[in-house]
Amino acid sequence: MTPAVLGDFLAAADEHIRAVHTVNPTVTGFASAAQDLYRLVVVLSRYCGDLAPCDEVEASGRSDLHAWERAIIDAGAALGIAGDCLRHGAEQAAREQSGPAPGQAQHLAAAARELRVGRDLLHTHRATDLAGLTRSRSEWAPVLTSLPVLRALANEIGRWSRQLAPFAALLASSGTWHGPSGGRDKDASLTAHFDFMNASQWLRAAGAAVRAAVDIDPVRTSDTELLYAVPVAMMPQRQRPRLVPESVADLCDGITVSASRLRGAMRDGGQRAWWSASVTSGGWQWMAQAAAVACHLSQLALRSLATRASELADVPVSGSQLDEAADSMTGMRAAWQQVDRLWDGMVTERRLLSTPAMTDASDLVLRLGRLVWDNPHWTPAHAQRAPRRSPPAIAPGAADFRAVVAAAHQAIDALALIAKVDGQAVESAATAGRLYVPTRSLPEEYDIARPYAPAPMTRCRVLHEAYGVALDATVIAAQALDELALAAGAPSKVLALARAAAPAQAHQRGGQNWPNGDIPPVRLPARMPSWGSRTFTDRAGPVEQAIRDRGISDPIILLRAGAIDNAAWHLITRAENAASAPSPSDTPTGQRHADDTPAQLAAQSFPRDKVARPSDQQPSRSAKPTPSSGIRVTRRLR
């Protein structure tokens, strides 16, 4: 079963809001409809409150807000007033009329219900800790406060506000028709009429506030795709690898589930290294081995796809693109092997205890193996070895092709989180004095009468640096797969969009940064340029930073900029290595890649969003945001 995504609820709400106008041109049970419209507008206004970086009072004194931030503040204020008007109007209307809810009311109520559930879904990504601070509960949390999501959601809210405005006007005219005439009742009816008219105008104002931002910074197709793909922050149920043969589609689904569970398990277990005896050296080493094996299997799967690409129609990626993505995993595997080997001589006070993350990593490896090797019962054991699946067997059609790309993408993405969390955890364990080495492995001058001695700091540092290298290599592979998934239209492309969007943070309420999740950024080894692995270290490289400084937040352009930064970093690293190498003939292949890769990356035809614009047409950050078509709203005092 696929997890619920925000799009399920937004699409359902959209259908109901559209249906409001198609059910009946006039309102009969308008009191009920007014109540339901009020509830719907309140939900919309709460969405705005969630997205707004500050309230309208603070906003009036700030000049650093993005056009969309200003738009959501203005829209939220307008919706708040519209809601007040509707509440008052609905109270008046309820005194005058009761009766069965009309069709419109049912649609309005259903839309409000869908949007409430959607908002609850968004709130699953955050939690309030004991100190009252909001904490991220998933890797999606920073995405939810990103500019692409803000653009897409604000745009939907603005569109719905515009659609609902005529209905509020219809309520106003219905009120004058149905209200009893004469005396106090006539006054009440008139009041309700004006309330609904005002509500209609404020709904239009909310829509106009958003439209002004659209003119400055258009919504991209990828923004809406990303918004609709936001999943519920809930670990999917484990799908044990089955004893009966699984289809390619089932295997890929299973890999996605395992990767998702693995990310959840890593997130939940990341803080335990300091104190928990259940976090062991054996577990860390096993995860490093599993990462190396998963990388190896993903690489083989991509090689098969590279062969298959030219044989399939409707596959918009070439064999060479797939081979390049597979090549990017060579360094990753070597880096994980190095981590594995460094663990050989280091232990914690307990050896190996199984963890939930290990179970999910095990499922991931098994399914990747069964995808690559022609044995439905494949395990890493020699006795289960089998020939490779033929390329037509691994990707019979274009859908399977995309599913396999997505499976590899999901696997590598999850491994990046392992590198990040385990690297941090190992540092914590070293600080807590939980790492030991066998005395036999120490030089003779160490005269220690116990079998194990505390690990020398140099060894701990080397291990931590190895995790840094593994993280960097995994990020490079993940970025290569991001590009591939976008180009191939794989279901996992949302990971690429989310990764690109997450650092594009809007300002946060009260001017504070949103907490950076429960996973602090990994510190890279000192010898690495800080812009070596942009995405997972939350640091932009020089090209990406220059793009951001121009106020451009298009995820596709940012991804490309990140790729250029990484390619440049690689070129420099390779150049340094080549300079210190004894002979150029030692690494002929590597040298050739060093020459080709940056140029290829810079020149490659990148998948473009339908509404993506060239950078010179993007709005400049220095351009002051237009005050949303002059709608500077102030909450009406009633």
């Binding site: 054996g282 080493q285 096993w286 081995q289 190396a292 094996v293 190896h296 299997l297 083989l300 092997q337 594995d340 080997r341 663990w343 050989d344 001589g345 232990v347 050896r351 190996l352 490896v365 193996g369 090797w373 890493p380 054991a381 020699h382 006795a383 070895r385 089998a386 490779r388 066998p438 005395t439 036999r440 492995s441 120490l442 030089p443 003779e444 009468a449 079998p451 194990y452």
Partner: protein, 140 residues
């Protein structure tokens, strides 16, 4: 392959818990080194060799906990000759060595007077059995 046989002989010849532990250390180290050397030689054996190497490291570390383990610095084992020949046969040979290693460690656990020696031998035997299961040509 000669080195595998040589280590296997040391293991058979070991008499008493300390000698078995010392020979086991050597055997685990050999498995580690050979598995690392063989892992990249055949794509289909990479996962098996990788996990077997990890089990060898775990087994070696387990016996280091044994109080009867002879003290002193142990030089890291090096493969005296490059690992050549059929990698699948090498895998099977290591599986044989690991099987023998597991059996000897189980025997040592029964003989050991010290509870910590027993635990260390049993833990290491489990790792040896995992290596055997991972690398044996036939279903273990």
């Amino acid at each position: 392959m000669d080195q595998i046989e040589q280590v296997q002989q040391h293991l058979h010849a070991a008499d008493g818990v300390p000698a078995v532990l010392s020979a086991s250390w050597e055997a685990f180290e050999l498995v580690q080194v050979v598995a690392a050397a063989c892992a990249d030689q055949a794509a289909d054996m990479y996962p098996g060799f990788t996990f077997a190497r990890g089990s060898a490291a775990s087994g070696r570390n387990a016996i280091a906990f044994a109080p009867s383990m002879p003290a002193g610095y142990a030089e890291q084992l090096a493969v005296t000759a490059p690992v050549t020949g059929d990698v699948y046969e090498v895998a099977d040979a290591i599986a044989g060595l690991a099987s023998a290693l597991g059996a000897r460690l189980r025997e040592a656990a029964l003989l050991a007077a010290d509870a910590n020696d027993r635990t260390a031998c049993e833990d290491a035997a489990l790792d040896a059995e995992q290596i055997s299961a991972m690398l044996a040509k036939d279903e273990w």
